[in-house]
Amino acid sequence: MMLKIRSLDAGYSNLKVLKRISMHVKAGEIVTIIGANGSGKSTLLHAVSGIIKGKSGEIIFKDKQINNYTAEKIVYLGCSLIPEGRQLFPAMTVKENLVLGGYILKSKNKKINLEEEIKKIYTLFPRLEERKNQLSGTLSGGEQQMLAIGRALMSRPDFIMMDEPSIGLAPLVVKEIFKTVVSLRKDGKTILLVEQNAKAALKIADRGYVMETGNIILEGTSEELLNNHDVQRAYLGKDYKNIAER
């Protein structure tokens, strides 16, 4: 088991967002979380990555209870978050961003050669190599997302959480990002994917959860969710008539 969450309550200073959330991700899976704006998807990822602390319940990552771990420590365990809005270091170059992604490798082993790791990222996204000396704040949206993924991969995580990687990108670029997600799983990574683009996410995922106002209201295999009428109506953009006709 990669991640197991048991009746987690969490939120911000005086706002309770997550209500008794329980879910899990098995090693090697792609799991997606879909839900409307403000339903608490990002909050859930923040709680797992240690940016906010849960109030009650349990977060177990690779058999360790990580409720009280700091964000830094959780990265060391091999759990990496690609946050909503990319959150790059805008006045630093593409390469510097990647180097910082490898910060924990460097602190685990002073002699490690980050150049080799960076080369691997460049093979995955050749576009980043072309722009390695450009300030990341001046990259296009698609390039920034590639860099955000690349920076997270630099820490060699086993478990990657992605918060809306396709937001604001052109369809072709979205396709490329999703292809990358699938290829990462082939490389043995486990992925938790939060997406507005529910259809595309369910197509590549094994399982999914549907969130609404801080609760998980539905879970199932991707196929089950794709065929679920409520999901179709609320998240896949099919209208009533279409569904009724079938």
């Binding site: 830094e72 790059l88 270091f89 910082l100 910060y103 704040g137 920076r151 820490s155």
Partner: protein
């Protein structure tokens, strides 16, 4: 005014200006990792001079200076650990009050440890009467020490922030603290290092300048205001601009002596500070575009 005198003014302007620049860089380092303006920055300069003065009676000068830098660095680290670290989301006003409070405490402690006597480290080479001739102007070799060591500080810091992983991690903290945490960077440790660094370079500046300007327990306030003016003039957080701004302020002060009575020096500084704050708060060197992509 003949060329000779002009050169004298230029050198004295560059000398004090480079000290202001180092203090401004100290402000910037802490500001960049924390968003805090540390008004105790001037006290680090004072502590450097005072501690080195005490040690240099029992050991070679260079050792006394190294020890002073290390001890002041430790004091900076402790200040952060004790007074700053545990504050959760402090407001700007809180931080101003706290750092001004710290500067007062440090000054009072210095008064008790060293009393109010004026002290000075010995000249690094020669004595107060020795001079070197540069382009016809006679200047103290200590001036060259000040310019040389402050240049080394600036170059060293630039390399540190550009090429070392810790320096890059500190820049990452200044740009996006959350994202830095997500990279596994211990952001609290980086804040602590920024206090050590600012205190250390402040102390070093306090040592090199001590033979020329003397060291007193209450010199910090004045220096903090000058350094702060320079930091604002260059654009808060922008250290290469602080060097230029420091030298500009130093030159203005030096030349103003030939026009106004020297008592007006501080008035000129405050005047510049207020003018900049009113008409160009992002600093004179910083374009809007540059301000959008914040950089050391």
């Amino acid at each position: 005014m003949n060329l000779n005198i002009i050169l004298q003014y230029v050198f004295s302007g560059i000398t004090v200006g480079s000290i202001y620049a180092v203090i401004a860089i100290g402000f910037n380092i802490i500001y960049n990792t924390t968003g805090i303006i540390n008004f105790a920055q001037g006290e680090f300069v004072m502590l450097g001079g005072m501690i080195a003065f005490s040690f240099c009676k029992v050991m070679p000068l260079y050792l006394a200076i190294i020890l002073a830098v290390i001890i002041t660095g430790i004091i900076g680290s402790l200040l952060e650990l004790i007074f700053i670290r545990h504050l959760k989301k402090p407001s700007v006003l809180q931080m101003i009050v706290i750092t001004i409070g710290l500067s007062i405490i440090l000054r009072e402690i210095a008064l008790h440890v060293w009393d109010e006597q004026v002290r000075a480290l010995p000249f690094f080479t020669g004595n107060e009467t020795s001079s070197v001739n540069i382009l016809g102007a006679n200047i103290s070799p200590q001036v060259l020490w000040v310019i040389g060591i402050t240049s080394l500080i600036v170059i060293g810091l630039t390399l540190f922030f550009k090429y070392t992983i810790i320096g890059q991690a500190m820049r990452a903290c200044s740009e996006n603290r959350n994202a830095a945490g997500l990279c596994g960077i211990n952001t609290k440790a980086m804040v602590n290092i920024s206090f050590i660094l600012s205190a250390g370079i402040g102390a070093l500046a306090g040592c090199v300048v001590s033979p020329l300007t003397q060291t007193t327990y209450d010199m910090g306030t004045d220096l903090a205001i000058k350094g702060f003016t320079v930091a604002i003039l260059g654009g808060l957080g922008n250290s290469s601009a602080a060097v230029a701004a420091g030298i500009i302020l130093g030159l203005i002060e030096a030349f103003s002596v030939s026009i106004f009575p020297s008592a007006f020096q501080d008035v000129i500084t405050i005047g510049i500070l207020l003018t900049i704050l009113f008409i160009r708060p992002q600093g004179i060197f910083r374009s809007k575009q540059f301000a959008a992509l914040k950089e050391f």
